[in-house]
Amino acid sequence: MATSRKWYSPYVSPMDPCPPLSPVSYETPVQLYLGFQPRGMEQFSPFEALAHGTLWPGLYTPYTNPYLLKKRGIDTNG
């Protein structure tokens, strides 16, 4: 399973005015990997689907504020 959050560390200069906020994250949700959706994928119940924003767990890629993470730079699973 691909991870849905990636990290990279930009160059830090001793001349930078602010303390570095590194590493930096970006999101790589499931639609980048799935290809044409196969038939018969497992489904949520109607209530669960509404709560998740999709009918298929395999298409669900949740998001949380990366600035609130205690340990930055850890990949997250979608």
Partner: protein, 188 residues
């Protein structure tokens, strides 16, 4: 033609009386990558897209109006009971002077909705535009979630962000359908 249904697509709850959130949320109402721009783009492109994917553009365009209504509901609930003083503190003073408590089509920086709605008339160019638009809208939802202090608003924004993912997935499938390689590759 269209029929209105007197219900939201997803229950919208606003937990904190913080009109400042309205200023951020308005980006998805009248911003370049907002729900209105998306709805207008897909419903316009559908006329000249190949028949195989006309239905998809029609249906995603229609769903975008349901999302527009959810955003408007959040903005409305956050501003309807705010005093002019509270609006001023929230950075909505200029908005109030010009538009009162209207839910106005402009972006978070106050620029009115006045932008080209992309349509190239080339199916691949248009669908790639649409995929990019969904990814940009997904990013906007992430930036608003990062700046928001209201878990209930973030719940609705999480739903809307996931819808961008699904729409992007379907547009990617539409490209595959137009490539006409689907059945040959036996990926079904």
């Amino acid at each position: 033609m269209w029929y209105y249904e007197k219900k939201l697509q997803y229950p919208v709850r606003v937990g904190i009386c913080n009109p400042k959130m309205a200023k951020f949320l308005i980006e998805q109402y009248g911003g370049a990558d907002g729900e209105l721009a998306a709805a207008l783009r897909y419903l316009n492109q559908r006329y000249t897209i190949p028949s195989r994917v006309m239905g998809l553009l029609n249906d995603i365009g229609t769903e975008e109006f349901a999302h527009l209504e959810m955003i408007a509901t959040m903005v409305y609930k956050l501003t309807k009971d705010a005093t002019p003083e509270q609006l001023k503190e929230a950075g909505l003073g200029e908005h109030y002077v010009d538009h009162g408590k209207s839910v106005y089509y402009h972006n978070a920086a106050g620029q009115k909705f006045d932008m080209p709605i992309q349509s190239k008339g080339d199916p691949i160019a248009d669908l790639y535009e649409d995929i990019a638009a969904e990814e940009k809208a997904r990013s906007t939802y992430q930036w608003i979630i990062n700046i928001s202090d209201d878990p209930l608003i973030n719940d609705s924004l999480g739903f809307l962000r996931e819808r961008e993912i699904i729409h992007s997935q379907r547009f990617r499938e539409a490209v595959e359908l137009l490539k006409e390689e689907q059945n040959k590759k036996k990926v079904f």
